[in-house]
Symmetry: C2
Subunit: 455 residues, 2 copies
């Protein structure tokens, strides 16, 4: 028969089993972390009616969308989890309680140009808090603690959450009488880490048309650096001239004030006046998160406060605050940088059971005992040579192999081999279950990320 060459589309991540386990472990920790903060899991269709999904979209996004017809229907694959959330909240408004806190980890689709490290199908892991009419500033203050706890749970230590406030920026450009171009100016300032302060100044002068004084003011403003308290103190100089600026500064003060109570160390958090987030969407606190040793990767967790989640679907005013992790890209980067913890158990089973007798009942009984104790057990019953069986155990990376021969069965015992140390010991079945369970518990709690230490 003629064969079809098997292949996976480029831009679509498909992992080998051990890597997939590491990915799943990250997703599981995200679910757990988000749940601890009172977010409820949500799942929405990957396909939506195009007129619903694209009610807002335009420009670059629309070009990237997977859009097609089926029968009479014009359909599209979701390109983020925010638009489906807006639809969901507008559609189910009467059945929801506000603030509505949801997390969603799901695949989204963008037909980007194929390129190493760029994905056309990728997971986003989002949380959002949606208010009905109003939403308290404390929700914005809580977000950095969620980011901090989440990455800490994943095993990352050297990262920094950078925070700014859009009202502060809008107010500042009001002071300069450049508020009509605030969005364009922010997009230029956003390039700062890539192109440096000098080029930013040139672009503001050449492209935006600001005069030297205004450019100087912008440069001075985005050069405000220091501890969070030092930055906040420096910003007080601008107070009293713009209501919007003052409100933004109050909000920023509140966010910083509660950091300690929320348990976020100062070293993982910084007020950064150059952060703006490109989108017009954001109206208050904005967040970006950088790996300290890899700023070139860009933000690994971003988001912010917005005023009107579902304006394309409803007259209800639904303000919110949310963050998003591009999980597929993050995983790719962690793998590339050697940050994945290969100490994690990635085998399909904790114990591979090798029966040495024709009657399999004792081996099956042992497997059942292990599984009841929460230990993952696989029976290996293929007719192979002993050496091949051990090669299989090695390749899977199982922590333990267990042998049940006539001697063991007669004594209600089992021979357990620790595949890491190579030590083998015959012990009663009960003891074997406990021994394995304890060892697994210890290794099973390992974090999926392991930073390279320079020392």
């Amino acid at each position: 028969m003629a064969k079809q060459k098997p292949r996976t589309l480029s831009g679509f991540m498909e992992l080998l089993p051990a890597r997939q386990v590491q990915f799943e472990r990250m997703a599981e920790l995200l679910r757990k972390s988000y749940s601890l903060y009172g977010f409820t899991p949500l799942d929405t269709p990957i396909i939506e009616a195009s007129e619903v999904l694209l009610a807002k979209a335009g420009g670059e996004t629309e070009k990237q969308i997977y859009r097609f017809s089926k029968g009479d229907s014009d359909l599209s694959l979701r390109f983020d989890l925010t638009v489906p959330l807006a639809k969901y909240v507008a559609l189910h408004y009467a059945d929801l309680s506000f603030p509505f806190r949801r997390f969603q980890i799901g695949k989204v689709y963008r037909g980007e140009r194929a390129q190493r490290g760029r994905f056309r199908e990728f997971y986003q892991a989002d949380i959002d808090v949606i208010g009905d009419g109003k939403l308290d500033i404390v929700n914005e203050a809580e977000i950095p603690s969620i980011i901090y706890q989440t990455f800490t749970a994943l095993g990352l230590k050297r990262f920094q959450i950078r925070v700014n406030n859009r009202k502060l920026l809008t107010g500042f450009y009001q002071l300069l009488h450049w508020e009509h171009r605030a969005g364009d100016i922010m997009r230029v300032v956003d390039k700062l880490p890539k192109i440096g302060a000098e080029k930013v100044g040139l672009m503001l002068y050449d492209e935006i048309g600001m005069d030297q004084d205004a450019v100087g003011e912008v440069t001075r403003f985005i050069s405000i650096k220091g501890s969070n308290q030092e930055v906040l103190t420096a910003l007080e100089e601008y107070r009293g001239k713009s209501q919007v600026f003052d409100q933004g500064l109050d909000e920023l003060n509140t966010v910083v004030k509660y950091l300690g109570a929320f348990g976020v160390p100062e070293e993982n958090f910084t007020v950064d006046l150059t952060i703006a987030r490109g989108l017009d969407y954001y109206t208050g606190t904005v967040y970006e998160t950088f790996m300290t040793d890899h700023p070139e990767i860009g933000s690994i967790c971003s988001g912010g406060r917005y005023d009107n989640l579902a304006e394309y679907y409803t007259d209800k005013q639904l303000p919110g605050v949310g963050i998003s992790i591009g999980l597929t890209r993050l995983f790719y980067v962690l793998e590339e940088q050697g940050y994945l913890n290969d100490q994690l158990i990635t085998s399909p089973a904790d114990v591979l059971i090798l029966p040495m007798t024709d009657d399999l009942a004792p081996a099956i009984g042992f497997a059942t005992r292990l599984r009841s104790a929460g230990v993952r057990a696989q029976l290996y019953t293929e007719q192979k040579k002993f050496k091949q069986k051990m090669t299989y155990a090695d390749r899977l990376g199982v922590p333990f192999a267990a042998f049940l021969g006539e001697d063991e069965i007669a004594k209600n015992a089992v021979s357990v081999k620790d595949m890491l140390s190579g030590e083998q010991e015959t012990m009663p079945v009960d003891q074997a279950v406990e021994r394995v369970r304890a060892a697994i518990r210890e290794r099973g709690n390992a974090a999926p990320i392991r930073e390279q230490t320079s020392d």
Copy 2:
């Protein structure tokens, strides 16, 4: 601004938060159950190249496929998890170890006619064991125990796994000299539960063209009933006339023999000679699973042994055995039949914390304490009247509300209200954390399915 009416496509399940939690709990238990048996999680793209995905497909399936172009690419959405598995195993053959045991829980797409209870996007939850060249019969014997443990973990008690063997059937039709129409005959016999024995007989006579004697033999064969041992004994009568039949009978004997060792009670398992599974694909043991009180729903977990998983992609002989649960449909049916356990905690948080002072630091500290103890906590900081806050707590269904006023803070205490009993008590913070944790643990282990008892 003109609004776009929000809607979700028909045939696409989108759940409200509490229901979604029940669904997630089922998926989580499936992952856990499959993992205990040594299956590794897999994730493959939802989009595949059409020529890869449709290497085999034809007929009804092909019509239902979501197929479209993007740029120069002819793409399709996966319609099951088996074809992507075949592609994966053929593509990554050199990197896998066999037997390769994987589970996958993911969405698949079929553009079926829209109809109540039919879904165009739905989750399948599959496990498969793939051998390289050979695969031991014990793998087929283990499957019923996985089905049994999985549904038991979900909370279902009244279900029955029905098992047959395709070699037995093929061999039997050889005896009748009707092996050339075996597939067609099996498809007729498959209708037995729906149309009854008499009509099956008529169809075999009219449509297949069997003579009265042969029809009589088929009717006699599919009427063999009784305990598993009685059925196996009755089948011995046919032994010695067809090699294929004898092999099938041996396999069936082996599967039944190990049931006890695998811990499957006889009441949940029956040899049923009328089960065939429509697909030509299956070559050995076949499985279907029925809810005892709702046979009209059809099989909720089906599968079987096959000889050649990836024949469209590779010359390698890759036999396997697998089962599949249509999770979305199962969930829909359980909800319709009132089988979902509404005792399960479905709120986003275990504790809703209501600060009663301006300074939120003590409330934030309490939230952090709860979260460190694994308790899901939500801070409620909106400016609302007390009554509105309690209505919110009620609507979310949180098990506990916690109040932190000046009195409590002064004593390092918290007032905890049990939302079910209505009882409220002020206690030290440590004690509150422990109290809540213990209560949650008890309720948190509840099964997602709760059968209606007739007594």
